[in-house]
């Protein structure tokens, strides 16, 4: 990696490792988060996402490896980096006996780089942005789970930031809240903020992210732009036809390998014939070959790999937490 490329990265790590006693929670990962991207940080439970985020924010020290955030090496330049970073880390944390507004004012007063004369206005603006204006004066102990989560997000928005780190931001949010988090992330990127969001809700990531990385048991198993990642997954053609045997013959002739079908056709009812396809073969070639061979094509689609397919392919089918 050249020095020039480094300046374009909001987060860059080399061989970042964090161990807890004998257990390696994060195992030598090389993260590269481009500036201005919405970066999805994926991985099953216990794969090391939160641990990585704690190291990136200086809460925990790396066992080994190099970390730089916003072009500054950590932990050396932590004090000048953190004022430019907003974060939600493993759920919100507030004083239950203070109101949402009072909590945000207190956290804002901890930051010496912001002006105290605009504190009230900024806190109210952040509360409004997450839809909590009407509950601003309510004690946090009377907040619901989703309201606390919203307050946690508001805390990350107290001032304009260059980088916002959101660890599972939609945890506990209702469908409207989830959707609005997506809108929020979009408006943040429009302002030029880099958003680093960890999640295991893949559909959510797929909708908002430009880049993603996948963790598995402390290792980084994939990283890149979403398009690159999807391309790495396998696309397949699906043909809906009553002439399944003829269709399979055509596909084989084109060099494809049809998958074993769920059901065989009887010449009348439609069945699905599917086969993995690569980018070299244009879908229209397949359709015209099928039609030319007299196959009654009643449905045709090219199915792109979803992030979920990729995720499962990379992290395994198993349900048990690996470490």
């Amino acid at each position: 990696m050249t020095a020039g490329a480094g300046a374009e990265l909001a987060i860059e790590t080399h061989g970042l490792t964090k161990t807890f006693g004998k257990q390696t929670a994060v195992n030598g990962i090389d993260l590269a988060v481009p500036r201005g991207s919405v970066f999805g940080f994926l991985g099953p439970n216990g794969s090391g996402k939160t641990t990585t985020i704690r190291v990136l924010l200086g809460l925990a020290s790396a066992t080994s490896g190099e970390v730089s955030v916003l072009g500054q090496p950590l932990p050396g330049r932590l004090a000048s980096v953190l004022p430019r970073v907003g974060a939600l880390i493993e759920g919100p944390g507030f004083y239950p006996f203070l109101s949402g507004q009072a909590n945000l004012r207190r956290l804002d007063s901890a930051d010496r780089y912001v002006s105290s004369s605009t504190r009230h206005a900024r806190v109210d603006a952040a509360l409004e942005r997450v839809g909590l204006s009407h509950a601003a004066g309510k004690k946090v102990k009377a907040y619901s789970l989703g309201m606390k989560q919203r307050l946690g997000i508001a805390n990350a928005l107290l001032t304009p930031r260059d980088l916002i780190v959101l660890d599972e931001p939609t945890n506990g949010l209702d469908p409207q809240g989830t959707r609005e988090v997506r809108n929020l992330v979009r408006s943040l990127t429009a302002e030029g903020t880099t958003v680093f969001v960890s999640s295991h809700l893949l559909a959510e990531i797929e909708q908002i992210c430009t880049h993603a990385a996948v963790m598995r048991a402390g290792n980084l198993v994939a990283q890149g732009s979403l398009d690159d990642l999807r391309r790495a997954g396998q696309a397949r053609v699906r043909v809906l036809t009553p002439d399944d045997l003829a269709a399979e013959q055509v596909l084989r002739r084109l060099g494809l390998v049809p998958e074993h079908p769920d059901a065989r056709g009887d010449g009348h009812a439609d069945v699905t014939v599917s086969a993995p396809i690569t980018d070299d073969l244009a879908p229209d070639t397949v359709v015209s070959a099928l039609v030319a061979a007299g196959v009654r094509v009643r449905g045709f689609e090219v199915e792109r790999a979803t992030l979920e397919d990729l995720f499962v392919a990379l992290t395994g089918e198993g349900f048990d937490v690996v470490q």
């Binding site: 704690r54 924010l57 200086g58 809460l59 925990a60 020290s61 004090a79 953190l82 004022p83 430019r84 970073v85 974060a87 880390i89 759920g91 944390g93 507030f94 004083y95 239950p96 006996f97 203070l98 109101s99 207190r106 956290l107 007063s109 901890a110 010496r112 780089y113 002006s115 105290s116 605009t118 900024r122 603006a125 409004e128 942005r129 997450v130 839809g131 909590l132 204006s133 009407h134 509950a135 004066g137 309510k138 619901s144 309201m147 919203r150 997000i153 805390n155 928005l157 001032t159 304009p160 209702d174 409207q176 809240g177 959707r179 609005e180 809108n183 929020l184 408006s187 429009a190 302002e191």
Partner: protein
């Protein structure tokens, strides 16, 4: 403050019921919003959002810390309990008007019926071994562990507050509690004493008599002495608080340390150790009640407490500055 949530606004929101107060996040409004991209140039607060080039002194955070400490119900309960002790003493002495047997009970107990000003002094003497360390233990033990247990520690550090600055602010706030605790006893004692007993010029231990005003100054000096005495324990409590994420554990350990120190101080076999115990001078403020004032115990106490603050402050910083915050 739930009254601020207008119930009539509920029907306007799709999610009625107890989430009525919650509007959609950034719904629609984001385009006109001061923090969002499009409108930011027209907003009056615009320039103010630019981050300051150089950090400010950050007194606001100290103010916030002290406000949070003194807004907690727990703090009020402790201060009220401390204020109740002189009241209890005064009422008890008043009811048993026969007067106490000389030589029994704490020093100065017998003087109360002659001069109500002594109520506060007697109450302090009673509170110093246990009640005051108990309240200091709660406040000092909670400093870091309390923030850790409520998950606010990570947000303060990311804000960023700075680890050394957080310790300093926490110590100053805890010291403010020491001042409040001592003053509450002295003031409550003076008030109840004035209400139940005659008040007048005070005869000092040296036999001299001083005016009421001068006696008030001496009372404040004693309050300062006791506050100072508690600073060493405060630093110890803060250090213990950096060792754990469980505030109750840190609080209990701090109180236990103060008791152990007093026990050691009472064993004549450990004479050599006594001048090094932070509790050693705790009750030695009688010299402030002489004319002229003998400052020697005040000076030794101040030096000893300062040394404890320096040592345990450094230990707390050493521990906290490298600690992984995993709470």
């Amino acid at each position: 403050m739930s009254s601020e949530i207008a119930p009539e606004s509920a029907p306007e929101h799709p999610n009625a019921g107890d989430t009525a107060a919650v509007q959609p996040l950034a719904a629609g409004a984001s385009a006109e919003h001061p923090l969002s991209a499009g409108a930011s140039t027209e907003h009056p607060l615009d320039g103010a959002y630019v981050a300051l080039a150089r950090p400010r002194a950050g007194w606001a955070f100290l103010g916030s810390e002290i406000a949070v400490l003194f807004r907690r119900r727990r703090t009020w309960v402790m201060l009220i309990a401390l204020a109740a002790i002189p009241v209890l003493i005064a009422v008890a002495v008043r009811i048993s008007s026969a007067g106490s047997t000389p030589g029994r009970g704490p020093a100065f107990l017998g003087q109360i019926t002659n001069n109500g000003l002594f109520v506060g002094l007697v109450a302090l003497i009673i509170c110093i071994p246990l009640f005051l360390p108990l309240t200091i233990g709660v406040v000092a033990g909670d400093t870091i562990a309390g923030e850790a247990s409520s998950s606010t520690l990570r947000y303060l550090l990311v804000a960023p507050v700075g680890r050394a600055r957080l310790l300093l602010v926490k110590f100053v706030a805890a010291a403010a509690f020491c001042v409040a605790a001592t003053l509450v006893i002295i003031v409550a004692g003076a008030l109840i004493g004035a209400a139940l007993f005659p008040i007048g010029s005070v005869t000092l231990l040296s036999g001299d008599t001083v005016s009421l005003g001068e006696a008030g100054v001496r009372a404040l000096l004693i309050a300062a002495y006791v506050t100072l005495s508690l600073l060493g324990l405060t630093a110890i409590g803060m250090f213990i608080s950096t060792l754990t994420d469980i505030p109750v554990g840190a609080m209990a350990a701090t109180v236990v340390v103060s008791i152990i120190s007093q026990v050691l101080d009472s064993l004549p076999q450990l004479d050599w150790l006594h001048p090094w115990l932070f509790t050693h001078y705790w009750l030695d403020f009688a010299d402030l009640l002489r004319q002229p004032i003998d400052w020697s115990s005040f000076g030794s106490n101040a030096l000893l407490q300062l040394a404890y603050v320096a040592v345990f402050g450094a230990l707390a910083f050493g521990r906290f500055s490298t600690k992984d915050i995993l709470s």
